[in-house]
Every structure is written in C-alpha cells, then in structure tokens.
Symmetry: C2
Subunit: 360 residues, 2 copies
C-alpha cells in the first residue's frame, strides 16, 4: 500500500522492527542511555543547542505544551494563521485563557511577514506569536525565517508548529531564533504517532518562569528536572523511542541536507505530475510545501469518490480537504520515507482514478 497522507507516514522495516523490542525499566540505566542518545541526535535535527524534550502525546499535545508553558491567562497573543492547524494553535491558546489577536491570511496564500510587523507595531501588548511553519491543511510552507526576523525585532516569544516540517524541511531552530518548536513522530520521522518532540530556548525558559497557565502532564520544568536524571517525568512511550533511535540514525546518516533535498525533489515531481494531469495546485506555487501537495478539485471531481477509488482499486491512500476545504481539494503527503518513484506511482494511480471520479 502507498500510504500518502500527510501523516501517519509509512515506516521503513528498520523502525517497524525496533518497535517490537521488549520493554525495559524507564527509570533504569538502559533507558537513561537511550534518552540521552536520542536527545543528542534530536538536537542535531532541530539544529539547536537548547533543550529538546520528548512528550508522550500527539503533535496537538505538543502545541498545548508550547502554550501552557510560556503564557498566562490574559496574555495577549498574536495568532498568525493561514489554515486549519494555525487556527487550532489559536484555539488552544484561547482555551487556556489567552487573549488572541488574529492575523489571518487567505488559505493557500503564505503568511506575509510585513503584515506581522504591522500587527506587532499596532499592538505593543502582544507577548507571543503563534506560527505554523508548514500548514498541512493547505500545502503551504510559510517563510518562517522572515517571520521570525520580524517577531524578534519586537522581542516577542515565538512558538512554532513545525509538526509536518521539522526533519523534512530546513528549520534551523537556533539561527532562526525560534523559542518553542513542536514536531510529531508520525510525520517526517518515519515512525508511528505517539511522541511529540519540542525544543525550548533560553528565552522560552524566561517566559516559563512567569507563565501561570495551569499544567502538569505537559510541564517543561518537570521534563527538564527528570531529564537531568536520564528520565522522563511520566512513563514514556518506550516503543516509539526505540523506533526514533533507529530513525535518527537513518536521517543523520543520509544527512540533513540530503533529506531536505530529497523532499524538495519528490515534491517537485508531485507538483509537476499534478499539473501534467491538467489539475491545478491549491496553494500559490512559490510557497507550495515540500511535504504535502494540495490539489484543486474542479466541480466535476468527486473528492471522496476519488480517495475511495485510489484506496480500493490502486492501493494508494491520499487525504481529502479539511474544514472549509472538504470536497474542494485533495492532498498527497510526501514526507519521511518517500522517493521519487513513490510520487510517480501515486501520480500514475491518480491518472487512472481521476476519470472514474469525474463527472462529464
């Protein structure tokens, strides 16, 4: 089967096999070594020398952690959103009592850095900015480097959803001055869901020291205290850690630059292939993502039928649209364990399935 949704992604045999290892004591030496070895290499992929923690939760749990560890109820937060996941980030902040100002962009268009500058100029009371690096719902990669430069001009805390980008698309956490960056195991990491990985900068720790949102399970301070003992505060998802251990070797032995280049190349093949089928990309092409390609479905294409035919007749699993894009676009995931040939197989299946899902 070609599982080509934007996560969970297919796992290579090496990580699948690692999952089957027997349990160990999560408060013993063996786990201590595993946790330290994983964390050291995670920092290489995050391109950071700051703290990186493993949290046993999905990416959404990681986003919640970013918020509750750096903010207090009533804090003014700027939500910069151009899709479902940007909106979710804002919704989490609201749930915990933040005052959220919205800076929304048309879905399929990128976040405009200049608008971020304007918003920060207009409202001096903003404490933190929420940004989605790669908006999985629209297939847009935002210009995080430039957005961060604007946010840091105003010395705000920058919280980044990099769930579907980090490890697949370049995101040098330290040189882009990102304060909390969240990713999820089931994306470019080639391992199953169940772990969020988060980086926490010195500046984020300063915010933490004043943050009053309630937290317990996702508390960064507890994560740091236990990490110093070679542990996690609560029993971690050991199997997924085994798989991550192997995946990090795969990623680092391929080399980060090569991994990013492979994703860029596969994405280009996907985009060109889609256009050659006389379909159009949903996002503006200069911000089209290297991990997920969103495609416009004309009025004549029945998206749910297309998804079903691809799955049932061609063993290819793609995703439809979310929220207001439901029925209007479909999405091909190409992150993690993905090569050009995979994109070609998907495109070939798509070319055969399309006529069957198109009304005349």
């Amino acid at each position: 089967m070609q599982l080509r949704i934007p996560g969970p992604t297919p796992c290579p045999p090496e990580t699948l096999q690692a999952l089957s290892k027997q349990m160990i004591n999560h408060r013993g030496d063996e786990f201590d070594k595993l946790l330290n070895s994983i964390t050291t290499r995670l920092k290489q992929v995050f391109q950071t020398t700051e703290d990186v923690f493993l949290l046993t939760c999905s990416g959404t749990g990681g986003l919640e952690a970013a918020i509750v560890n750096t903010l207090s109820p009533g804090d003014n937060v700027l939500s910069v959103s151009n899709g479902v996941f940007g909106d979710r980030f804002a919704e989490i902040a609201q749930s915990y009592g933040a005052e959220v100002s919205r800076l929304d962009f048309e879905w399929g268009k990128p976040v405009e850095p200049e608008a971020v500058t304007k918003a920060l100029k207009a409202d001096k009371g903003i404490k933190a900015v929420l940004v989605t690096h790669n908006e999985t719902s629209t297939g847009v990669t935002n210009n995080l480097r430039e957005i961060s430069a604007r946010v840091k001009e105003f010395d705000k805390v920058l919280l980044v959803d990099a769930i579907s980008s980090l490890s697949s698309i370049d995101l040098p956490v330290d040189s882009w001055h990102c304060d909390v960056v969240v990713t999820g195991s089931q994306k470019g990491w080639m391992i199953p869901p169940g772990l969020a990985m988060v980086s926490v900068s010195e500046n984020a720790w300063q915010a933490y020291s004043q943050a009053k949102m309630p937290r317990f399970y996702l508390d960064f301070g507890k994560a740091k205290n236990y990490f110093e003992k070679g542990q996690t505060p609560w029993t971690p998802s050991i199997s997924i850690c085994y798989a991550l251990d192997v995946a990090l070797d795969l990623i680092l032995s391929e080399g980060l630059a090569n991994v990013f280049a492979r994703h860029a190349k596969v994405a280009q093949t996907a985009r060109e292939g889609v256009k050659s089928l006389e379909l159009s990309l949903f996002p503006q092409e200069d911000c089209a993502s290297n991990t997920v390609t969103a495609v416009n479905a004309s009025d004549k294409i029945n998206v749910s039928k297309l998804v079903q035919i691809l799955r049932d007749e061609y063993d290819v699993v793609i995703a439809g649209g979310q929220a207001k894009l439901s029925g209007k676009i479909f999405r091909i995931g190409h992150l993690g364990l993905v090569y050009e040939n995979d994109a070609k197989l998907v495109l070939e299946a798509l070319s055969k399935a399309l006529p069957k899902a198109t009304s005349s």
Copy 2:
C-alpha cells in the same frame, strides 16, 4: 530478563509482533473498525456500558483528563490518599485550581471508608472525591467498592486512579458507580506505555457540562465527538492500538475471572516467598496488592545495591521505594504477563542476592 517492576511490564510475543504492523490512515475505515473493536472489548474489561476512550498519553495524562473534564477552578475536592500516586492525583487537581481537602492515611495502611464518610459529612461543599484503587508506591489495594458506596451516599463525583489495577484486579466500574476510571497500557494490559484508557459515566458527563477547567488535548467532549466518526480527535498511537487489539483477545479468551485469580495466586506466592526469606511485607497484609508486593528493607539491606545485583547478576529487574520510602522498601511487580513460575524465579534470585546486599 525478568522485568518485575510495577510497569512497564513484559509484553508477550503476540503484542510485540503486533507493534510492527505498518501504519494506516487514522481517519480511514480500517482504523474505524480497529477503534470500535478495541472499545467494545475495553468496555468488557472495564465492566461498563458507559463511554470508554483511548488517550495518547501516560496514566498521569489520564489522571489529568479525569480532573480537567469534571471540575472547575475553585471546586472543593476530597483527596483520599495513602501513597505517592494518591498525592499526585491531588497535586494535579491543585495545579488546575481546585481547592483540595486532604484525607491522608498512613502509607502501607488502607483507606478507611468510615473516614471518607466523616469527611464528606463534615464538608458539604465537596464536589468530587479522588481515590487510588491500587497504590503502586506502597503495594496497597484500597477497598474501592466500600469507598465508592460511601462517596455515592453523598452523591459526589468519584474519580478513580486504577492505573495499576484495572485488567488485573476486579473493578466492575458500573456496579461500583465509578464516574471516571483511568488505567494505563503499560500495566496489566501486557502492552507498551503510550495509551491511557478512561471510562466516563453519565454522571461524569453531567459534571463535564459544568466543568470550566481549561482543556484541549485531553477534552472528553472532543473524544466523544470523534469517536462517533470512528476516530480520535488527534492522531492516536496506532502501534499501541494494534498491540491493545491483540492483548484484549488474550485477556478475554483467558477470561476476566481467571486473569484476576491468576494475579491473586501469583501475588500470594510472592508474599509467602518474601516472608519465607524472613522479610516482612510493607503493607498491612489484608490490603496487600495483587499486582505489586512492597517489602520492608531492614536497616542492614542496601536497597539500591540489591536492585543492582538482581539486575546485573540475576537478570531480574525490581523497583526500589519512591519518595519517603526510597531506600526503605523494594517492590516486586507481578501484573500482566506473569505466572507463578515468574514469581518463583524472582524469589530465588532474591534469596541469592539478599546476602550480598546485606551488611552484617
């Protein structure tokens, strides 16, 4: 290796193998079927017809879910505690702004139901009661049936930490009128950590409708809405679900009554064996747990040395004491995949290791 800590517990080959299955779409038909099949059988083990949800987190995350979904900041809560995990449950409630009244019992002694009645009589403003069914830190199983009867006389919300009991020790959720019951995958379920399973009663849903503690990732309402679509709100730990699917078959084909009886028998072997080594049980024997045996270490026994010798020389992993019991007790876990012979192997290793860890 004999992994005999009170969780993570050893996994049988069947569940380990299931972990290696390839990923699927968590929003597709196959996961829908898996989730429904798991949930139906989980309800049998919980002995409930009410809602049961899978949360991708550790047991502590499940405890947090119990609190934030049923309470509001300022609510009066009665914490009934006789160990580390009872205290943790209270600490979570406090972190989220509950007013916690403490009803503490000596560690190693059981919760006295009559004292619960007195506390509820004395303070009419209490909304919910937090109870630990099996206190892993002291090896005590509390008389939940009787405690529940007292709590329900006063019509309070009953939140139960059953992390290290449910599936190993009888806990008929409906007939004991427990409102939220939390367990964790790495305990009696014979699968790795990474999932909490929680039951939610009709009464708990009434509390939910008024509960104002902030929540997002662990929101029961979102879990219910998505369950109706055959999904979880956020990407679930699919691999652990695969393993749980297999484990439920193992548990139900053995039969719940047989599983409970096996745990009782192994525990008895452990207790008798410990006493035959001229050691004494830490807990009062009539409340000693069937999933973990806590043993007093005399002043002459060096617990950390004992744990290390058992691990390094006899391939047996046991646990020391926690918090104020550190260095004073050691604990043998016997839950999940455990038979009498396992207990005997641990006891034999213990008999050999003890002299090496005892000063004269």
